[in-house]
Subunit: 347 residues, 4 copies
Amino acid sequence: MIFDHPWLGPLFGDPATVDLWSADAQLCHYRAFEAALANALAACGHVPAHQGRDAAEVVERAEIDIASLAEASLRDGLPIPDFVWQLRSQAGADAAAIHTGATSQDVLDTALALTLRQVTDMLMDRLQALDARLARLASEMGDAPLMGRTRMQAALPITVADRVRSWRQPLRDHMSGLDASRPRVERLQLGGPVGTRHGFGGDGERIAAHMADALGLSAGPVWHTDRSAVAEYASRLSLITGSLGKIGQDVALMAQQGLDEITLTGGGGSSAMPHKSNPVLAELLVTLARFNATQLAGLHHALIHEQERSGAAWMLEWMILPQMSVATARALGAAQDLCSRIERLGS
Amino acid sequence: MIFDHPWLGPLFGDPATVDLWSADAQLCHYRAFEAALANALAACGHVPAHQGRDAAEVVERAEIDIASLAEASLRDGLPIPDFVWQLRSQAGADAAAIHTGATSQDVLDTALALTLRQVTDMLMDRLQALDARLARLASEMGDAPLMGRTRMQAALPITVADRVRSWRQPLRDHMSGLDASRPRVERLQLGGPVGTRHGFGGDGERIAAHMADALGLSAGPVWHTDRSAVAEYASRLSLITGSLGKIGQDVALMAQQGLDEITLTGGGGSSAMPHKSNPVLAELLVTLARFNATQLAGLHHALIHEQERSGAAWMLEWMILPQMSVATARALGAAQDLCSRIERLGS
Amino acid sequence: MIFDHPWLGPLFGDPATVDLWSADAQLCHYRAFEAALANALAACGHVPAHQGRDAAEVVERAEIDIASLAEASLRDGLPIPDFVWQLRSQAGADAAAIHTGATSQDVLDTALALTLRQVTDMLMDRLQALDARLARLASEMGDAPLMGRTRMQAALPITVADRVRSWRQPLRDHMSGLDASRPRVERLQLGGPVGTRHGFGGDGERIAAHMADALGLSAGPVWHTDRSAVAEYASRLSLITGSLGKIGQDVALMAQQGLDEITLTGGGGSSAMPHKSNPVLAELLVTLARFNATQLAGLHHALIHEQERSGAAWMLEWMILPQMSVATARALGAAQDLCSRIERLGS
Amino acid sequence: MIFDHPWLGPLFGDPATVDLWSADAQLCHYRAFEAALANALAACGHVPAHQGRDAAEVVERAEIDIASLAEASLRDGLPIPDFVWQLRSQAGADAAAIHTGATSQDVLDTALALTLRQVTDMLMDRLQALDARLARLASEMGDAPLMGRTRMQAALPITVADRVRSWRQPLRDHMSGLDASRPRVERLQLGGPVGTRHGFGGDGERIAAHMADALGLSAGPVWHTDRSAVAEYASRLSLITGSLGKIGQDVALMAQQGLDEITLTGGGGSSAMPHKSNPVLAELLVTLARFNATQLAGLHHALIHEQERSGAAWMLEWMILPQMSVATARALGAAQDLCSRIERLGS
């Protein structure tokens, strides 16, 4: 609720990332799944070519009644049965090419994969931008002396470059980690009702390959109950915010009177003390790191998907993962903003 | 984001509880705080009587520019400095009676206390209603036999009444626990910039008592950094959802074919298997229990408020506590709904 | 493993509290339960008076083969079936008065209640001692000036007394909270195999009352699946360590060169920098607070006890709660030790 | 405490893994670090060749007074300053080649890397063994029919092979994930007091390379405050136990009377109901999964290492990571054991 709050939203939220999870964006992914399936069914000869093509067209331009989706989600626990019913009722004879062989989780998990691809794109861009900004900081202010501190005690002199190096180091790993995770995360889901693809005759793999290709996803085994990739992705999000939380904590410590190792422009004002300038963005980085660290446990509890498909564990993912991605994107944005406010580093 | 999602919102969210945390509701609490302070300052002779009264009136009817609050929150980390500035600029000479001696955290924490009072009211009502519904279930179906199961194995025969008794038992404790927590939770915050009430001369306690009385809150010591009551409240929320999660887990187990110990009307449909009727609400209770159990850790990490007031730890509360309260209210609503769908219990 | 590690144990552990959870102590509680049950069965006429007395004597002095308990626990998931078998095989004809009507969980949960009573005793003593020590600090150094800091920025001058007051405030609440929790936590468990006490004819309540009286516990309803009191207790432990974590964080911040608001004797040495004196105990308080905040989530996930008794959720309690109690006791000890090392407070 | 408990230890613990974290094993790693450093200092000309060799020999065979380490750890927060002092005092003139340029964290983090290498070896072996056992189950019983269940409701028929495939699938990923993590996890730590390797003149990289080679670790940048690899490793541990928790949950559900989809030998007995056979190992898998999911949050909170080295965040790793590794190893052992007790699968 905080991410789109009228006045807290701008501080905590990230509209571009919130949009990736919006109803509109998700609906668009649902359509993409069903269109890709219709086309794949045709390509593999399960329905006539024209039927597949026509069905795909219906899927892309069908009017979807959101109120009906809402009512149905409350009843069914998810919107897909009603979504499919709406599509089919607009498809006439082409209904046979819609959702055939698939199950609700195929649609929602594939939509998740498509969303996470976009989230990753955005995070990669921001990681790169932040890394570049830190590199500039290091080149501009790196020679300034700084007291190295360990266990919160003055230890030995270092330079600003040393400190900034420790800030940058994990960012590179996060970029390569995110990149390496793409094939596992950006993966089609196509299992059918009990994960066996039995509704496709022996053609499950071919249809999956066709769909994956159309959607720009990897094909691979069904992952209805194997949520490792989701939990790993969440772990990466928390690693990123953790690394940024370290920067935020350092900045908040450097900004203390008595240490005075940083000058920031545009710090936060106080209702009672006009002389104060609070390092709000630095604090926010710590908050977001602790938020994500907390959430991560939930996604690991959600690994226990019983039998062929779980409702309870799966719904827990829906509650947590979008929030973690917004918190991560926001942290990267806030870190960039914080860096751009640094006028002086070192003592 | 899920709580007000166009189609997942009805399943996961609770509009009445979301409203309690809405911008409008919060703004209303901010006004109540500042009006109570203006009146208390007058009552204790810190400002002339008419000034206090006039300031309170300005506070209640001032136009607040939300866009400005949003912009300022991003800069200041919270909306109050700008809110106070807006009030004062509309109060003319009466500005002296507005926010004097207080700090931003006083306003936001008092707004929290006022919100939690309403949350508690709602939870109490729903606990009572659920308890009554379970009592009715027990009286209607209590004599039916049921296999008692321990460690998920058939143990010895019990009755439906025995099982329902175990569902009801913790609800009573939650009601008395919530009730007992009221004085600690529904407590005025008034500490001033560094928690010492020094801006009120020696009158801090009198002013606080006056305000508390006007707002229907308890007075008591400043709790800027003592977040125990907040974390305890969150623990109670998680205890409630935990108890309901147990009911949900039991129902999902009872609904298994092979056990067939429950008949539910209106279960969830499947996109692939029209014959299925999924125990969606039962699963949801488990999901919400695990959601709150996860979140609770975050509020306990947020206990570490450094020095006189923390930014980072405090903001973490804002991210988590509203969600937990919505999840709890929703769980109670879903549990009631689930109970009303029970047509048969026992074997 | 860290709590009794050869060299980390003294830092992280608390031998007196570890002892409360030791095998010896637990075995002693198991005996107490079975003896109380034997006596109660006799008192209520379920077995002849001499049989109850003799059985209780056997229970108290029976030789227990630990290797057998270990082997059996691996097989049965808990030691009680074998423990009872060992008792009965040494009791001859009096075996009829041993464990009759009870179940394993009755023994283990009652042992837990007896252990937590002792844990609470210890925590109360230490809370009181710490509070007294802080009171002395306040009276000795309270007048010293200190810069009040909010959001980690210098705000307005306060005194050492103000800061110490914020440290003491939650301790009082923890004492009254712990005390108030006693009747709910220190409660007999006696439900029998499926929680209905059916093995006692209609005498379950009388037998429970007799046993509770003998063991110094409260009687009350069966709590096989209602783990609220356990989770609440854990929450209290985490509240305590959270409050101490705040003290630790404050001390670590005060000890920074540049702030120099505290002088500690006997700080930690460094292998590379002999000039350093690290505020080890202050850091430890933060560590223990975050440890308990993390653990607490586990105990709330463990609220979901399915059906009449759960194995999986219950075993999670065993893994977590003892650790939390040791961490809490250690934090209180470390806080006392830290206070006694304070030579100077304020600037 | 549970892992080496006299009778719960065999159920929850894993002695071979506990041993990897034992004081003896750790001391051995400390010696290996210091010997490698002495040799590297000599190889790079920082000390005379004979001095390096002699110092390395002293390090390997020096008598270490454990009581002194314990006392010193309580004072210093870690054992290394005293350990180094003990080594040096036995090295006479060769003391100059001992620990020179290094800091305590270098020793402890390198010891961690060496330990995790062994943990990984063990986990890889067990993953492989479990995978093989599941493959055998599939080949022996795979054709048996099984009702596919989704959202805990009967869906469509599958075979035992389908279910077992979903159990095996994540194991492969965990093996390749563990293997891929080796270079990042099994990495030398050598930063010196403030992470700059300044004590080695310009030779830090050469000395690090020499040491890494001797210890069989990767060289690379200093990771004093970049704990990503540690948190990622912990995430992998929790992924493994999560996958096994799914197996455990499935088995417990299959073992229900009414479903009867599995026959297990040697299930757990009950103290009250001799007819029962509890699926203890299946439940244990769920418990261990939830234990690790809970712990993981703590290691992500511990990502926020402030400045050049943190005490508080680092110590939290020590409390949590060893436990997670034992829980994971135990879960793999228990899963193997559980599989070997399966006499029948399917209905």
